[in-house]
């Protein structure tokens, strides 16, 4: 059912579309690790530097969220610029919620000029979730159209309107998101196909906790041949508490959390389970939280091992937002440290 992908027309420079570290890692056949860095709700660049320091060396690139959950934060490109200065590679996120096609394209030209090389194209959470629910949304394009527009800027040197432009084109390594367990579930592999056909070079999935369900999804993805046309990074994230696990299971669309994982998290808090809320001292709570977090990290490591064994999974995307400290033990624990260092390719004469 999937139409021809136009990978032939993708022009490679020195064998790469963008030459980003992430692209080099993936094309080099290494199992990639990306992380996530959430910019602050302020103009404080120091926050970005501190978080970057926690992630540097442990991720091949880090996603910089774009007003995540529709809450105003430092811009992805602004924060990404600081990340570049810190010697870490950003994946700029761009949602369709806040910008029309003019703003998106001009911001991306600027982002490329500032040194950004990876881009994740997203539809974006609806503004009703965030802190400006009375705002007007844009959604001039959707994420699939955005992928195509960016691919056309890179591969054809044309803007979305069809006008050709001269000079330097923005050569992004283009990513898109996939939600394997959102409804209608049967359509999900085909929607992924649409993104790949539109030009997505890599995919980061929604959080996976149910490996069996994900394996089934990947089976369909392989049947469609998509794993050979794009790099699929499975999304993982450490749980902080059983409450967080239950919340994700019950309240976040498209996330499946198997009962065994909730049980495992509960078990970690067992020594304190008999006590009532009032009886727990500060120290108790601290110890319990540490036990939960340790288990959360271990579950995450275990998930990575299992996901890595699935054919077509090219890497993991670790989402530990506001818990960047967890990335180091996860990457180390999963045996993914140190990260491969890719030599600069010699340019063709």
């Amino acid at each position: 059912m999937v139409t021809e992908i136009k990978s032939e027309s993708k022009e490679l420079t020195n064998g790469y579309l963008s030459g980003s570290n992430l692209e080099k890692i993936l094309r080099g056949g290494h199992f990639a690790v990306t992380g996530e860095l959430g910019p602050p709700q302020s103009a404080d660049g120091e926050v970005i530097r501190e978080k970057a320091a926690l992630l540097k060396g442990y991720c091949d690139a880090v996603n910089i969220t774009d007003n995540q959950t529709a809450i105003v934060r430092m811009s992805s490109i602004g924060a990404g610029t600081i990340v570049v200065q810190e010697g870490l590679e950003p994946v700029i996120q761009m949602t369709c919620r806040d910008r029309n096609r003019l703003a998106i394209q001009s911001d991306l030209l600027g982002a490329y000029a500032l040194g950004m090389r990876n881009l994740l194209c997203l539809t974006g959470d609806h503004q009703s979730f965030g802190n400006h629910p009375e705002s007007k949304n844009v959604f001039d394009m959707d994420s699939v159209q955005l992928v195509q527009a960016v691919a056309n800027m890179r591969d054809e040197c044309i803007f979305q309107c069809g006008d050709a432009f001269k000079g330097i084109e923005p050569r992004f390594f283009i990513g898109a998101a996939a939600a394997p367990f959102a409804d209608p579930i049967d359509f999900r592999p085909y929607r992924l196909a649409k993104k790949v056909n539109a030009g997505a070079d890599f995919i980061q999935t929604q959080l996976v906790y149910d490996v069996d369900a994900f394996a089934q999804y990947m089976e369909k993805v392989r049947e469609l041949g998509l794993h050979e046309k794009t790099f699929i990074l499975a999304g993982v994230g450490p749980l902080k508490s059983p409450g967080m696990a239950r919340y994700m299971k019950n309240n976040v669309p498209g996330i499946l959390v198997p009962d065994e994982i909730i049980k495992e998290m509960n078990a970690a808090g067992a020594p304190w389970a008999g006590k009532k809320k009032e009886e727990l001292t500060k120290e108790d709570k601290k110890a319990r939280s540490a036990a939960w977090k340790e288990t959360g990290i271990n579950i995450c490591i275990d998930l990575i091992q299992k996901l890595r064994a699935i054919e077509g999974v090219a890497g993991v995307h670790i989402m530990a937002i506001e818990w960047e400290r967890a990335v180091k033990p996860i990457v180390e624990g999963a045996g993914l440290y140190p990260r491969p260092q890719i030599e600069e390719t010699v340019s063709e004469a």
Partner: protein, 227 residues
């Protein structure tokens, strides 16, 4: 049809202010069908206002009348006299009715009694739902007769987004996901392959984004001149 609902009595009282003679003007078309501003609602509104002003010790002259359509000059002309006498016209028509009165009667102060909500239909007794956003370039032929412009919270053309769950939209469990509906319908009609095509960005020029819209039918215009 156009679906509207009444503003609160408090807001309406503020809009009327100190005007002595108030004409509550109902409309016999869309807003009658959605029980927001027809003859019955106009009469009830007038008596509510009478009661409210009486309680405040005032004796405003509040009358009501309903025309078949507030959005056409010929129907407005039929009540020109009553409109002329009023200090304020409280229109229970949609926003088009209010503007038609303002446009047709330059000396009349007119205020809206309704909030014009959307273009939709009654899905069951007492429930109205949006169906069309008048985008000016109908794509229902691509989506199995279900409109993602009006009914998908993000106006996606290549949906559904990752927020679709159990048939409802991520923003509210009460709102059906338009793309789930589209998927189900195309699936039941064995036309799912339609969804595999990448829909290009929409031309929003024909919608409000292109500026206020106008349709000129020369064929009809000429006919009028021949009359």
């Amino acid at each position: 049809m156009i679906i509207a609902e009444q503003k609160s009595l408090d807001e309406i009282k503020t809009l009327i202010g100190n005007s002595e003679k108030v004409l509550v003007l109902g409309c016999g078309t869309c807003v009658t069908v959605c029980f927001a501003g027809g003859e019955r609602e106009a009469a009830i509104m007038a008596s509510s206002l009478r009661m409210a002003t009486k309680l405040e010790g005032k004796s405003n002259a509040i009358t009501d009348i309903t025309v078949q359509r507030q959005c056409e000059w010929e129907y407005l002309d039929q009540v020109a006299e009553q409109i002329g006498e009023a200090d304020v016209v409280l229109s229970l028509g949609c926003g088009i009715g209010v503007q038609a009165i303002a446009e047709h009667f330059p000396n009349t102060w007119v205020v809206p009694g309704l909030n014009t909500s959307f273009l939709g239909l009654p899905s069951e007794q007492g429930v109205w739902e949006e169906r069309c956003a008048a985008c000016g370039d109908c794509i229902l032929g691509l989506t199995g007769g279900i409109c993602p412009i009006a009914r998908c919270s993000k106006t996606l053309l290549n949906g559904p987004c990752g927020g679709s769950e159990d048939g409802h939209c991520e923003i509210d469990p009460e709102i059906p996901c338009a793309w789930q509906l589209i998927y189900d319908r195309l699936s039941s009609m064995d036309k799912l392959d339609v969804l595999l095509d990448l829909q290009p960005p929409k031309n929003w020029k024909t919608s409000r984004d292109g500026g206020p819209r106008k349709i000129v039918r020369e064929d009809l215009r000429l006919l009028e001149e021949e009359e």
